[in-house]
Every structure is written in C-alpha cells, then in structure tokens.
Assembly symmetry: C2
Homo-oligomer: 355 residues x 2
Amino acid sequence: MSANQSPAGKQPTATYDSAFLRACRREPVPHTPVWFMRQAGRSLPEYLKAREGIPMLESCMRPELVAEITLQPVRRHGVDAAVYFSDIVVPLKAIGIDLDIKPGVGPVIAEPIRTRADLARLRQLTPEDVAYVTEAFGLLTRELGATPLIGFAGAPFTLASYLVEGGPSRNHEHTKALMYGDPQLWADLLDRLADITAAFLRVQIEAGASAVQLFDSWVGALSPADYRRSVLPASRKVFEAVSEYGVPRVHFGVGTGELLGLLGEAGADVVGVDWRVPLDEAARRVGPGKALQGNLDPAVLFAGREAVETKTREILDAAAGLEGHVFNLGHGVLPTTDPDALTRLTEYVHTQTAR
Amino acid sequence: MSANQSPAGKQPTATYDSAFLRACRREPVPHTPVWFMRQAGRSLPEYLKAREGIPMLESCMRPELVAEITLQPVRRHGVDAAVYFSDIVVPLKAIGIDLDIKPGVGPVIAEPIRTRADLARLRQLTPEDVAYVTEAFGLLTRELGATPLIGFAGAPFTLASYLVEGGPSRNHEHTKALMYGDPQLWADLLDRLADITAAFLRVQIEAGASAVQLFDSWVGALSPADYRRSVLPASRKVFEAVSEYGVPRVHFGVGTGELLGLLGEAGADVVGVDWRVPLDEAARRVGPGKALQGNLDPAVLFAGREAVETKTREILDAAAGLEGHVFNLGHGVLPTTDPDALTRLTEYVHTQTAR
C-alpha cells in the first residue's frame, strides 16, 4: 500500500484527495485536472539549461537532475500532476541491453533482438538495477507535497519494436515480420517485456508514485484483431501486476482510435485519447467504468491564444458527460512549443471548469 | 469523354470492361482486381536500374522513363492496373515553385508559403506546363492495351502541408497554425490548390487515364470536425471538376479511420482503407454506393508466404459483402519489399477470387 493512498478507516491524504487522482477515480473534482505529456522537456528553457552537456540517458540516471526536471513544469505551469522524467528504454538499459539515445534519432540498440537465443539477454529487472529511480522519487515526493507524481513506463509492444528494429522505425517491418511470422517467439518476447515493465512500475509505486502511465507509443500501427491477439495479453499482465497497489493506471498510444476499447480492456483505469477522436465518441468506444485523458492537438498551441481557447472549449464541452476527465494534450508537447502557451492553457482549463 | 469509356449506345472497350474498372463501378468481376500503391518504384531492381543517376524530379519529367517505370510492375506482377509514376509535388514544380526532392528526405520547398502575398506564387496549371505527362500517357495507353491506367495527384491538404512546412513534417505545426489561426487565408490556399490539382488530373484523363487516385498522405493528422471544416470543400472541388469524365475517382489517406465517411462524402467513388480498419467495418463507415480499396499491411510482406496468405484470406473474407472491392495494400509498397512476394500475392488474390 503506497503512502499517498487512503488506508481503510483512516483520513485520506491531501495527495489522495487531489483533483488529478479524484478524476482518475471518477469522483467529483474542484476543477478539471491538467497535465501534459512531455511537460518536462525541451519546451522549457530551464530544462535545456539543466541538461546542458549531459547526454539524455545519463540525465535519466542522475536522481537530483531527474527530480529537478520533473519539478520544473509543476513550478512553471501549476499543472495538477508531475510526471517522472525518463525515457522508454531506461529499464532496458538497466538490465544491461547495449543501447544509446542519439540526439535527433532516438534510442539505438547495438544488437537487435530477433531470435529465440536473443531472449536470454532480457533478464528480469530488480530494484537494485534502478536504485536511482527510488532515490529520485524520494526527493520528488518530499518536494511535491500534495501534487501527485505519475510513474511512467513504455508498454511491451513499443519496447519490442525498439528491440527488434534496433531503433525507431516508421513501418515496423522487422517487428511485424516476427509478430506474424513466429507468433510463439513473439508471445514469449512480449511476456518477458511485460515482467520487466511490471517490475519497473512496482519500483516506482513503492517509491511513491500515485499513478502510473503505460505508454504504448507505436501500437497505433496495429489493427484491432492483431492488437487483441498479439499485444493485449502482455499489456494486461503489466496492469495486473500492479493492481494490488490500487493506484490509477493510465494507458495511452497515439493513433489508437480503433483500439480505445481494447486499451481499456487491457486493464487501464484511465484511457488516453489523441486529438483524432472527440472525447464523447471515445467514451462510447471505451465504455463505462473508465476515465478519459486528453485531447488537445499539440500543434494547436502554435495557432495563437484565441484558437487554443476555442479548441479547448470544444474539448471541455465534449468531456461534459464523462465519468472522469483529465485534461491533457493528444500527444506529447512539441519541442518548439511556447511554454507560456502551456501556462495560459493550464489556467484556462482551471478557470473554465472551477466548480 | 475519354477513349476508354463506354459511349452510350456503343460497345464497351476492353479497358472499360476490365476487372479493375468493373470493381470501381461496383459491377460483377471475373476476379478481385489487384494493384499496389507505389508498385512502380524502389522495390523493383529494374526500377533502380532505370533510375540510375537520374534525380527523382527529373525522372518524373522524362516521358519515356515515366512510361517504362509505370509499365514495369504490370509486366512483372500481372497487376490489374498501372498507376502513373509521379510525385505529389510535380504539379507544384510545373507552375514554377522552387522545390527539389532530396533523397532520404523528400520534397523540400525553397520558400514556404505562409502569407497572403505568398499565394500569388500559386498560378493555375495549364496543359503546356505538363506536356511530358500527356506524352507519357500517350506512350502508356498504346502499350497497356486493355489494362487501365490510373492517374494520380496529391490532395490539397497534403500539398498545402508541404508548401507551408517547407518539406515533410511529422507534426504539421506550421500547417495547423495557419489552418486554425487564419481560416480565411487557409481556405483561399486550399481553393487555389484544388484548382491546380483538378487541372493536373484533367490533363491525365484527357490523355487516357481510366481512373484517378487523389492521395491525401497527411490528412489522417486531422480530426473529423477539422477535416469537414477545413479540407473537405477543397477536395470536393477537385472531384467535382473531373466528374464530367465519368472515370472512377479513388481517394486515399493513411491513418484515416475516423475520416472514411468524409472521404466518400468529398466525392470519391472508391475509398481507400489502410490496414487499421477491417473492410467490413470500413464499409459501415463509408455507407452504400461506394467501392472500397485495400487493405493488407505492407509490413506483412516481410513475414513469409504463410502469413501473407493468412492475412490476405482475412481481408478477402471481410470484403465478401462489399459492393465493389479493389485489392491493394493499406499503404505504399515498402522499398525493401521482396518483389516476388508481390507477384505471389497478386496470383493468390486472383486464384482465390476467380469466379
């Protein structure tokens, strides 16, 4: 049981009672909570300054730096949650996979994983492998007070895509060749990645995460039938492995309009929606008993204040009938976004939804 | 009235009576017709040889080369239609826009179009601007015999994205900033691009195209409400401008699951579907009176013969109740595809659907 939960028969903590966690639990909120995917990152000058001269992967392994970068957008924008600053490949690095994050490219894996023999390189992750995460979360929960901290991990399909392709891929040829061509090896690979991901999230929750987001960046490349057959069992295993903690589990992938119901079925409490599907339509696809997160197109932030407010108003209207709504972008903050536009957007959602 | 059409009261030509054009018109077919987006291109060794030392844009302007490259996949695979080898930016180059197609990057526009003054650079296209197209189509229709030739153009939204961004873009920030921030300038830009696109397609039909495909590569980046408001009027203008010829009009964009009904509404006779939406579900979204085209994931071709046949069988089953079905991939042929896999796939669809 994590510290920020409501222990049976005791007073709920201020964190437990925060707007973000209340919305995730589909309880009444004082205002619609706001956070932004990639809120900690390149749109902030203080981030660029803090990262100066430090490679991405190294910056993810320095607890003080992780804490500082995670806190920056909370201080600046007044968002309702912090999200752990990390990268999808951090747990793979932690178990000894030879990889690097190359600027302008993304993660590059020295030796891709494509055969049964390669599976042996994917050993289980232990808390000792990511001691820097526990340390960073300790610093963060002390600093954050009542503001919840969202844990973060990449989902098995997306991790598999990086491992099989050897890096970012537009078309996922090798990944799909394995998935369609050797279903048993594929299932074993995803199962192993599910165990690693679950262990990584458990470390984060034990260290104070109040919620977790499982990010399946590339899964929108699959049809519903393939998702159900080849991905859902592994994602479900991750969600089930952390269910005992009772913290809200958020699930998101871009371009997943066809998969929204299945993302919920996999075990998410909150389903993230990109900007292509209006939230009321998304609610029909996801069904009852889930909160939704989203879904302003991050590119709208380049169109001026009036356009941002018009599109945001449309989203709040579409969200009016939802059981629970966490305001977010429909994908990560784009690097060249004006940070003031994000601060104004946070204020706008708060004032428009104040009850 | 184009030469391959059925003039009232006269015998239809063999082209008019081809499986491809019959399927587009939702008439009974001897077998499900097959063609592949990007069938003419980098997957073929004979293409690489023909293009050797010739820059992409130049190769689009040499009639004999265009004809040869367009014919190569018809000879090799026995597909049911040829598709005019070109690039989306060819009509822009033809009206004097300073641009180049850079290997590994894509089209790069020297001076992006972002202001009202910039619109003046987009003059109307005349047949003389693209005399090489007329010449290439003349060569092609003589060689192709009864095999139909599909004309090709990029749709106004996608052309606008290249012009406004200055090149390929992942997030279309500048395009959307203009679309949301200055709706009148945006509408005027798309209207002008619709006129240019329509003129380009009219040249192709006059020169012997039996059908046209309007390719809106990037439009899947929009929500349905934004598509309806900001894109549909221009795409409709293109389709209406060629309606008098009576040739089937195909419309496709990748990642357009949410937009399928609207792509039909814009005026398509045949709606292309990517692999994310099963064809029976696509038919529900598009509604009656339209044929569908698609939708094998091009990455499946990397998974071996058995997987290709299994997935193809699923598609043919989902297509069983359609009014008209043209078999295609759900996106363009990937450059590293084994060409023999495409030949086998063509044969497989033909034998499986022979009536």
